[in-house]
Symmetry: D4
Subunit: 228 residues, 8 copies
Amino acid sequence: MQQYEWDYDRHQRTNIGEAVYCESKSVEQIQLILNQHIQNQANVLLTRLSAEQFQLLDADIQQKLDYCAISKTAILQSKSAHLADVSPFFANFKVGIITAGTSDIAVASEVARTLSFNQIHSEMICDVGVAGIHRLLNKIDNIRQFPVLIACAGMEGALFSVLTGLTHAPVIAVPTSVGYGVSKGGKTALESALASCAPGITTVNIDNGFGAACAAIKLAHMCKQWSQ
Amino acid sequence: MQQYEWDYDRHQRTNIGEAVYCESKSVEQIQLILNQHIQNQANVLLTRLSAEQFQLLDADIQQKLDYCAISKTAILQSKSAHLADVSPFFANFKVGIITAGTSDIAVASEVARTLSFNQIHSEMICDVGVAGIHRLLNKIDNIRQFPVLIACAGMEGALFSVLTGLTHAPVIAVPTSVGYGVSKGGKTALESALASCAPGITTVNIDNGFGAACAAIKLAHMCKQWSQ
Amino acid sequence: MQQYEWDYDRHQRTNIGEAVYCESKSVEQIQLILNQHIQNQANVLLTRLSAEQFQLLDADIQQKLDYCAISKTAILQSKSAHLADVSPFFANFKVGIITAGTSDIAVASEVARTLSFNQIHSEMICDVGVAGIHRLLNKIDNIRQFPVLIACAGMEGALFSVLTGLTHAPVIAVPTSVGYGVSKGGKTALESALASCAPGITTVNIDNGFGAACAAIKLAHMCKQWSQ
Amino acid sequence: MQQYEWDYDRHQRTNIGEAVYCESKSVEQIQLILNQHIQNQANVLLTRLSAEQFQLLDADIQQKLDYCAISKTAILQSKSAHLADVSPFFANFKVGIITAGTSDIAVASEVARTLSFNQIHSEMICDVGVAGIHRLLNKIDNIRQFPVLIACAGMEGALFSVLTGLTHAPVIAVPTSVGYGVSKGGKTALESALASCAPGITTVNIDNGFGAACAAIKLAHMCKQWSQ
Amino acid sequence: MQQYEWDYDRHQRTNIGEAVYCESKSVEQIQLILNQHIQNQANVLLTRLSAEQFQLLDADIQQKLDYCAISKTAILQSKSAHLADVSPFFANFKVGIITAGTSDIAVASEVARTLSFNQIHSEMICDVGVAGIHRLLNKIDNIRQFPVLIACAGMEGALFSVLTGLTHAPVIAVPTSVGYGVSKGGKTALESALASCAPGITTVNIDNGFGAACAAIKLAHMCKQWSQ
Amino acid sequence: MQQYEWDYDRHQRTNIGEAVYCESKSVEQIQLILNQHIQNQANVLLTRLSAEQFQLLDADIQQKLDYCAISKTAILQSKSAHLADVSPFFANFKVGIITAGTSDIAVASEVARTLSFNQIHSEMICDVGVAGIHRLLNKIDNIRQFPVLIACAGMEGALFSVLTGLTHAPVIAVPTSVGYGVSKGGKTALESALASCAPGITTVNIDNGFGAACAAIKLAHMCKQWSQ
Amino acid sequence: MQQYEWDYDRHQRTNIGEAVYCESKSVEQIQLILNQHIQNQANVLLTRLSAEQFQLLDADIQQKLDYCAISKTAILQSKSAHLADVSPFFANFKVGIITAGTSDIAVASEVARTLSFNQIHSEMICDVGVAGIHRLLNKIDNIRQFPVLIACAGMEGALFSVLTGLTHAPVIAVPTSVGYGVSKGGKTALESALASCAPGITTVNIDNGFGAACAAIKLAHMCKQWSQ
Amino acid sequence: MQQYEWDYDRHQRTNIGEAVYCESKSVEQIQLILNQHIQNQANVLLTRLSAEQFQLLDADIQQKLDYCAISKTAILQSKSAHLADVSPFFANFKVGIITAGTSDIAVASEVARTLSFNQIHSEMICDVGVAGIHRLLNKIDNIRQFPVLIACAGMEGALFSVLTGLTHAPVIAVPTSVGYGVSKGGKTALESALASCAPGITTVNIDNGFGAACAAIKLAHMCKQWSQ
């Protein structure tokens, strides 16, 4: 089996730690990649690693991983971690993760885990979907404290517009594949984010909690750099 | 040229007065249809009659029509109007027409004209799109007075969900073809209405102000019948 | 695990009782939500609760639920039911549920169960699809008695147009995901409802029996209010 | 400019006379093709020839053509017509062309002209769309006399199913591009024909009156052959 | 459980025997329908009846059915068969069923079984896809003998055009869901049939062997009627 | 004509100055809105204002506007500008606008004008599409100086991925409607941004230069707030 | 106005001469680009340059261009042509361009012009669409002489499969936007090429004659290199 | 069961050895086909043969097959192999197979196996996706040695454009179904290849490693023929 050519200096080049998307990889391929990272004492975040895939990994590799079934992520924290020296700047910088409903929590957890792997704090605020607008309005003062917001919503994704219209912070939308009929697969929520009447929303792919977290990480680092 | 076989007793069967959709008809066809109605002293509502089409009609027919360029509707009110004997019930029954933005007013006007042709009152409340949620909240007490609401919105159509979550009345969504990119043609607004997290919205085709009005007319008549 | 922030006063605000969509929720999440309702002595309707999900709930919770496998709905009727004091108005108000074929009965049952949970009566009339138009015509006098009609049809959804052309009552279309090839997933039936030549149809999302019932509930309450 | 390589013996091979689709051809190309046919004393049917294209042809060629603006067809009937010796069988064989609305007449006329060019009789029955089902039922006895039916309908195309459920004859659907919103371009009507619950419908492309006529011509010839 | 309202006189009205589409029906529903037919001594064709569904039927019902796993069809031939008195006309009338590849045989078998249930003969000619055009040309003389052709092809469906260009007989296309990538689900083959450059093809829904057979049955009966 | 209900305090709530999307508005509506702003001495940015629309405005209103035909934007700078007191923080903060080709400059100009109206500096770097990767690599050191990047690309949008993989800064993609065939309308470029293998890209709607600029403005203000 | 950053050494890097796609560029932009090439004595091919755009260029620039209205291409052949030293290898190497119909000739001409600009010979063979398969079979011996084939077809694109099944040479498909209804815009022809049952076809974007020619140029150069 | 009509002389006609696509075939059908080839001592390549299907074949047939689970291909090498006499020309001709990521290796292996069955050498270069452009640039000198390149990439497929812009050789894109959300199923990667700004890419269907290999085989044979 071939060597995996990973992107060693990605963190240095882009501020994002190495991550591997597992959905379309075989267990053999994932194991090969993990072994290379272990040998190189490198950290890596695995995303879309199903419980079935995780169970099929070698037992000693399983033990080295911090696995989370809800978010389907695993973290390999090898000895010489590249993120050891975290700046004090990030102590107070906390990303707000907002979900429309309970069904969006899996994706929101992928956001939180990716941020955490990259040493950024976050806080999750759930069930503030706009069908009962008071739920959002009741929490808006808290929500306005965050420097950046990541909103997770499926179905018609109306939360994106309302939230963006109420806040100063950049809002990154994560459309989720929660829905059926015309909204099956998350396309309606995605288009809602893209077509929003509220200026300043940006979006990532459906269910791409990882990508939204990466964008927030880039924002955080930019912020830190300009704060100096 | 052939006779037009119209649906004479539609009003009796369905509570909706005769209407003719003009977008895909030639001026000759429209004229033929109007002449038949004039001869039969029947009323008719013309929808999607462009200013160009209207200008090409015979001058004497133009004079008989009440034409509205914004809604692209014309009303032929012949002598023996089938709607003469209006029930007192409808004096107080007023449909609320809510628009997200200025761009939705053309469609909202088609709603209002169709209602008026069928002897139902309405009132239009504009520019309450959710990007500035306070605009909607400021008027919500007024909006809650209407027995039925017709909401017109394009782009991401978030208004439908927020409005429905705040009101008792049935909400009929009219997605409008206001938007570009992914929302060009109105599909995103339509899917937003269909996939809404707020239970109880029903919707009609994109830009179908006429259809929404007809649904409201049926509701009004049902209401009248049960009030007796 | 986080608290579920439910929408306590939804019934008061919108005339619709609390309901939870279970398709994209984990068994743990559903259980958490049910426990909160039990503790608060609140009623709740669960929709899209598969037999597999139901079987995995705790035995004592299962016993508290009235589960229906055909419609995939469960009803939790806690002690202090918010719907106890039903108006006498609703004694005679019965929603007509019309299905094109036997395959549409599952969705029609979701309609009936949602209505029943919200204290509205209904009656189901099945197998009147238009391929044999006499089946519909034979029952049209009965169908014309209902104040509101909910029509469930898949494939090409021609029933929506024919039915609407024959009746005074508002017709709410529920396109079903019955079909294959181009109509797989229910999109053709949905577009048929939206593009109908018969004025006054409104529609809900594919297989959204719950939503159609909610719209009918709103109509019923409006009707009751205006009958006073 | 290159020679046009036409399909000389198509009629002999397929029972369909030579025809040229003009929509995507330049006026120069159309003229070249017509000149070749004139030189070879061959007949040809031009379809989708817009009034603008027709006006730009050489005056002497225009005179040789029998042009119909409604159907956008032109017929070149050269001297040694290949269709001169028509069988007596076809004297009584008449194709029924049924339209849902006035807007479908242009397509229906393409059907009629193509049949006529190929020496098959037809009769058009208009405005029997199912929103007022009595219009169709009133004429059903007449419609049942035709050996083959070509139905032209746009919007939701419900006519196809109802008509097919009421008749013995083969029904060929021609979905038309009459509609807006979701049915814009005719796709809903097409899918309605394909997904119909009434067994035995076949369909052609949107607005393809020419193709439907060709299918009917093939049926007619098969019928004649088996009648001997 | 409710009665199934079947379409008793469909055969008389449309020349097609009663058939039931089983894909979206529960085993209970199928059994109910079969029992009603048995009690009424009526024949019925079941389509899309999977081996799993068949195995779950009551053993005595299974014994009464003639089941074919390839085509997923079952025939219930009760005592007083409505098709007993077959016309001698059909003795020589044989439908040609042409398949592009081995993968299309399942659909072709649904065609053959439907024809057989309705007392029409057929013959299958397989593996004449156009990637090796000689395979088709070698058999074209045989193919030209059939009064009507039903062509089954997936992928790009080029067979439809080539076959139609080579034959007098009406060609009914059955696009099959054989393919992957862009042609997954059969849409490319369907559009190929609709957009064909060869005039006179008509088509049915993807994998709809039943529908194509029904169209051929209608043709056969028309032919018989005109042969008298 | 009705009053326009504008969103007076949007700037205060969201850091974005008032803007009006003109594509779907009539000249009368635009004029009404401008007059209200003039009377209130408020600033406003008009987007998608075509040259034709601009020419039809009253001459005195035209004179008050700073119109740019390339970006189709107009700026009304009334007396009491809400953006007068600009922070010194923004003196050094410059957004990098990167275009793949010459065809993307119109959209890039909408970005620049929106930034400028909101008092944010920018610089445009053009023609660095990846078909000639050296063009991008040659300028990468300059590009790496910007705190935030807005990338405009049509066709296959490969620039988004390559650029993001080479830089620390947040990248906001603006897919443009440059392309034909499958990429007509900009959908391929949009999906490229969403599906990118390079983590951290966020995107806005097709051609939505305004939206991307608004997101950058929100970033800039967040950055300023955290720099204090 | 900004400088145009062109890709000077593209020919050296990729064997393809500099070309500029004009459809989405303004006349000012095109003129700027041409002036830069003239100043640098560089050759360039302009594609999708409409007659309207060409007419609006400065007269002296028009004179320097070799413009072809059918293919909408213009060639600027400056003094120090980079293609002057053509290899003798290419004297006998001729690309075969095959079209299904007359309507495909515009695209085929773009192929021929692009090849010619890059010093590769070609020959066009027209009107061999498969509806009359004999037209193709009659010319197959000639067609088999070409080392590479570029096939241009719209509608259902069946030519691609049949042609590829009959020849040794690589076949590059160019789907054209000739068609209506489901094949409008060329998508059906494109999918036909992609889903073909004949192995070995590759395809380019709809109407992309330029791209197909470039692929053939790359093939020709590879061939030349290996012939040495 | 019917005979399988295979395409005996395909290799002679098209330079491609016989191959059978197994995804939509039953085990019985595959076995029948293999037995015919064994009896005729003919070679055949099976593609898309799942491990499940392979396990269900008769044990003696399994033994005769060279099966590869990664690429899902099996090779039957019967005695009188038609590819025995390989030209010395092919000794040095090696196809370069380039993959963006580890997930694309399955498809790349189908390419390699198809080439090998047809006696063409290849070499695989993996993990050079453009998110870390240096990975591609580091290997570009090696990549430039191949006479033809087959690039396998999913998600946004940006590799196709960058690679083509850097090389002389023809590039055949194989979009893979690696991705989720908007890129689920491979459509975004496919459109990226089609819409690429880098001239000269051609593409095959999603996951069609077999087809890309066949195109390369045709190129190789053309090359050989012209080298003589």
